[in-house]
Amino acid sequence: MATISADNHGLRLATRYAVLVLIAIVFIFPLVFMLMSSLKPDQQLLQDTASLRAFLPVGDVSLRNYTAAFDRAPVALFIFNSVLVTGVTVVLSLLVCSMAAFAFVFIGWKGRDFLLTVILATLIVPFETIAIPLLLIASKLPWIGMDGLTWGWLNSYHVQIVPFIADGLTIFLFVQYFKDLPGELIEAARVEGATWPQIYRRIVMPLAGPVLATAAILKFLAMYNQYLWPLMVVQQEGYRPVMVGLQYFFQQNVAWGEVMAYLSMITVPVLAFYLYLQRAFIASIASTGVKG
């Protein structure tokens, strides 16, 4: 009896893992393809796409594509630029948007509903459709930096950061999450004389782990994959991010092996960031549901 149930348990566990693994294969195969291809010379890479060899490190395998990629483009510079711009934007965005969402959900104030509706409506506007007007605006704005007051934001880091700090989607994420937090907690704190910044810092944000993680990874992805905007506002190689850098590899005859090597390299920071978040937030929160 006992052995049967143990077998049963084992079987069920095995089935579960089998399902998980099958799904995992579906999701991971293009990335394995990318990684394996990055190790192969172009000719072999293209021939291998037709068979399972595409997923195996077979044939003439080497790191030549990686060294060639570094020769062709300042890969490290591009990654540094992207990580810097993305990192700063994510941090500022989490702060600004969570504060706004806090005000929208927990505080009553004149104009609140109107402003929230307008901000949510901006979700609908695809960036591409406002890029040109935004360029005209950004090229005339003043900035106070190390060189004192300057006009025009082109060729800088801040032109890639400031316009993206606040966005409707991030605010919406926070709003929907905050709505699920127990309102009595906040009311009680108010009654006891806590100030709004205290409530924000001490009560709400400590409970916001999952949404911070979600918003952070979403923002990270959106920023890291920026292409059109930096293309328009950055003419100096020194400020160029990774997705514009990708174009260095699309010459008349595409160097596919180097493309794959470059793609593999620029994927590393995103993956690292996600894994970090998963450890820091999602795993820790897994057992502590906050809903009453």
Partner: protein, 418 residues
């Protein structure tokens, strides 16, 4: 003695360096070659030579990846941030010149008398841009294929007629040796379509736009000749001579892998083909009734309208026109040198060189794409029409729609200054 000489030399160097630092005015320059090491090296060399050759100007280059270059320039212009010197794709130049992004060059035009016509960028009667090379397209195949299929080798004087070309494709198809008889390069979407395929249309007697006025495409793009071209084009795909959708990898390596008997490809790919098959030959375009035609004009240099130092910018461009640089580009990336004298200095284009045929092709057959600011839009419309026809759309309707779109655009732009 020796010692004092050294000191004197150092003093002179210091003075000239210091003098240079003070007197040299910086000229900014944008170039589309980011990611292409060979090209970058040659351009860097020209800039270094120029900066060292005189004391007035100092050129500083920013390079952009080609795929992002035009958008960068347009954005730069909108934001009021163009460099002094920029490079421009030949057929796009009239658009930028008309829009007020560029100004005419101040160079001695006798210097370019011996140039092939393609690299000379004229708009409104003035020289706005000049290229250090040209590009050409040819029908790439192997002598052994021609021999096996029993085909006459066409020459510049006697190219294949349209019928001969189709018979050649039929022979290649019937041989069963190839996946497809013909590789027009469908994978290279974008400028390749008008550049490579509109000469076929012109050989049929049609055109993208009526070049006598540049005010309409009616008749040119949907007249009898154009419809005959369209039917022929569609037939390539419905009869199985070519594939309407091709993946880029096949385009890059299909000919080398023996998938295609004939590949319609540019001289930039010629070195690769020659190194794969020693018996690679480059044939002139077939003549569909109005002569063999191929496209002309590649990247060229010009001066931006906002440049405060057009004389310096022009001086740099003029400096770059020396035969040794023209030859260097040709040797480095396989491009066609624009002068005969430079061609003689190259490995591939000198008389008897393996690619000399391209120089002759360009000289004999090259036709620039319509010289109008509207070309940028017309190229897109043409590309879509050709893709649709290849995929089976009704020829007459598709060409009519293309004409309507082109004409509406010309009207919206007040005739584009013609």
């Amino acid at each position: 003695m020796k010692h004092s000489n050294w000191l004197a030399g150092a003093a002179v160097a210091a003075i000239s360096l210091g003098g240079a630092a003070q007197a040299q005015t910086t000229l900014s320059m944008w170039y589309h070659g980011a990611g292409n090491e060979v090209e970058a090296k040659i351009v860097d060399q020209i800039i270094a030579d120029f900066n060292a050759s005189q004391t007035d100007w100092k050129v500083e280059m920013q390079s952009f990846p080609q795929a992002a270059y035009n958008d960068s320039v347009v954005a730069g212009a909108l934001a009021g941030n163009l460099p002094d010197i920029l490079d421009v794709d030949g057929p796009v130049m009239p658009n930028w010149a008309w829009s007020g992004y560029m100004q005419p060059l101040q160079i001695d035009e006798t210097l370019i008398e011996g140039f092939l016509p393609g690299p000379k960028g004229y708009w409104d009667g003035k020289l706005y841009s000049i290229g250090l090379w040209d590009a050409a397209v040819a029908l790439v195949t192997r002598q052994s294929y021609l021999d096996e299929l029993g085909l006459r080798t066409p020459t510049l004087e006697q190219p294949w007629t349209g019928e001969e070309f189709m018979a050649a494709l039929e022979a290649a198809k019937a041989s069963g040796k190839f996946e497809y008889a013909f590789d027009p390069g469908m994978a290279w979407t974008g400028e390749w379509y008008p550049y490579a395929f509109s000469p076929f249309l012109q050989s049929f007697g049609g055109d993208i736009v009526d070049r006598s006025t540049y005010k309409t495409a009616e008749g040119a793009l949907n007249g009898e000749a154009a419809i005959a071209f369209g039917e022929w084009w569609q037939g390539l795909f419905t009869n199985g001579y070519a594939q309407a959708s091709q993946d880029p990898a096949d385009r890059d390596s299909g000919f080398a892998a023996g998938k295609y008997a004939f590949s319609w490809n540019g001289n930039w790919a010629a070195l690769g083909a020659l190194s794969t098959f020693e018996d690679t030959v480059f044939l002139p375009a077939p003549d569909f009734g109005n002569g063999s035609k191929i496209g002309a004009a590649s990247w060229q240099f010009g001066v931006s309208a906002s440049s405060k130092h057009p004389e310096g910018a022009s001086a740099f461009i003029q400096f770059a026109l020396q035969d040794k640089y023209l030859a260097a580009f040709s040797n480095g990336i396989g491009l066609i040198p624009p002068t005969k004298t430079a061609a003689e200095m190259t490995d591939n284009y000198k008389d008897g060189g393996p690619m000399a045929v391209f120089y002759d092709l360009t000289k004999a057959q090259a036709l620039v794409r319509p010289v109008t600011p509207g070309y940028v839009v017309q190229a897109k419309v043409f590309e879509k029409a050709l893709a649709d026809i290849a995929n089976g759309a009704n020829v007459a309707d598709t060409l009519d729609a293309a004409v309507d779109e082109i004409n509406a655009d010309i009207e919206k732009n007040g005739g584009y200054g013609h």
